[in-house]
Symmetry: C2
Subunit: 317 residues, 2 copies
Amino acid sequence: MPIKPSDQIMHKAAWLYYMHGLRQDEVAKQLDISRASVALYLRRARDSGIVTISTSTDLFSHETLARELEDLLGLTSVWIVPEDRQALDPAAEMPVLAATVFLDLVRKGDKVGVAWGKTVYHIADVMPFADLNGVTVVQLCGNLGAPYSYRPDQCTTEIARRLNAQGINFYAPLVLSSERLAEELRAEPMIREQLASIAECDLALYSVGGIEADSHLVKCGALTPEEMRSLGERGAAGVIAGQIIDVEGRLMDCAHNRRCISADLGSIKAIPKRIMVVQEDNKYEPLVAAIKGGFASHLIVTASMGKRLKERFATSK
Amino acid sequence: MPIKPSDQIMHKAAWLYYMHGLRQDEVAKQLDISRASVALYLRRARDSGIVTISTSTDLFSHETLARELEDLLGLTSVWIVPEDRQALDPAAEMPVLAATVFLDLVRKGDKVGVAWGKTVYHIADVMPFADLNGVTVVQLCGNLGAPYSYRPDQCTTEIARRLNAQGINFYAPLVLSSERLAEELRAEPMIREQLASIAECDLALYSVGGIEADSHLVKCGALTPEEMRSLGERGAAGVIAGQIIDVEGRLMDCAHNRRCISADLGSIKAIPKRIMVVQEDNKYEPLVAAIKGGFASHLIVTASMGKRLKERFATSK
DNA sequence: GAAGGTATTTGACTTTTGTCAATCGCCTCG
DNA sequence: CGAGGCGATTGACAAAAGTCAAATACCTTC
């Protein structure tokens, strides 16, 4: 078959319109056809994939990855931190970005829930001072014993202080030694009220924990390395607000979770804006589980993590 | 510098608009900004080169080359014949395309000028039969002696016959043995009239000749190989309607041209639509000269020739 | 050569987009 | 702490693009 004349005129119209920036009526005049035909050809050109959004520039490749992840994971917004910057000063770039995003999303009168961990602590550390009177910062989970360095109440308090907001701490341990005691404590009016109020949060800021032998839960003594390993064998994948979730992001049915005083996972998922910040690349499996569980609506990750997530979720459907 | 927030929102707007095909007001709603802002971001996105016309598909790569040549050479229209097709049956694809283009451009009542050569002869040979009453086909140059196979009058006559048009032949030799005789013949009313009428043509169809030892002008005995070589040394580059042009496409000041009875080059350039068809890849230098001289408004070449032209003219400015 | 079906083209109308002056919010500097 | 500058944002209007029914050209097929 010879060259299709309609292809030529279509391409020519697209060229003049998109490359030269002519208007449709100018293209029509130049090709000596009606403007309606130009519109038709342009539609076909778009449909046949001549016109695309380019992702060439390096500045935009991360943005593109972010958009793809938003589409793929059904998230509201994704931010990708370039690898090199993250490597340069792991503690700086991502927490600063997270703090910016956080400030951008918080509104006067909001109630924000904050979990605990190194990541959140770092974010609190670089949070700019602001006057967000009327904002309430609540802890999403119980407290850890004194010796541990990144304490839940510290995170809450520090963020509240910087925002000039009201900080509400959680006066209960994260993990108790018996299920019975945990149950009784959860039934206490003050604790129950505080836990119930988490569902009313407008915004959550947290990360996801890993289940390795050196994870926070093990380091703080809540679980022994053996218990953690055993949970991993039973399908555990990560930690959300002190609680173990499985690979699908569901609350694990285990003794630890029953001994835990923390936000109900359903309540967390019900928070409209859930900012999840993941710095470490070895948090891949936990993050996948957290995303499957619907714990994130806003995600901040490194480029390499973003790429892994893209591959993971692109093939899964 | 951290990630620019305005970049993110710009990219996000472009993504939703161009990739998801949302309308500006939908994008505005989703990003919670005004539609005017969306329009602003989209403009910036286009300006920063996020949105481009893609040239990826192989079907369109030739079209893209054609568009680039149109822009680069300032031509109205360029057609590229794919290499493989041309190689398959060199005599078929390009002449068919040329005939199609010719038929597409000719209008009732037009006067069309036709030159001579193997290429034009082949085009005439595949020209479909049509009823173009009112069209006049004129010869652009004088005739050659009987023994030569691709005669100017044959081309004219055959095309006129197929189109059911009026063919006007040229009753003078292309080359005379003396300059004086050529001058006198050109002064003859009938010849002068015919030559003058060429400027009134609406359409021209021709190729460009080479200046090698086996070129038409040599083979038909108008010039000896030595004369041709000598002209080449003086800057000759090609042949237009029997006349020698230099590398810039200007009429050479030489005895041959003075002995020639052919269309005035200025008259040819004044023809609104000038279809130049070049089949052979060794016609590169002649074609460059012809293009520089402004002898083409519509060009039909092979992909390899197109690429060479693109390189040649891309660097020249 | 007429009939019938299909693809293309167009004019007229509606919807969407581009633009710009006015406004808003924010930051800096006195 | 207020004035002033500056970029971002918006509302409203003008311009451009999208759409669709009707008309037209264009093939087949009988």
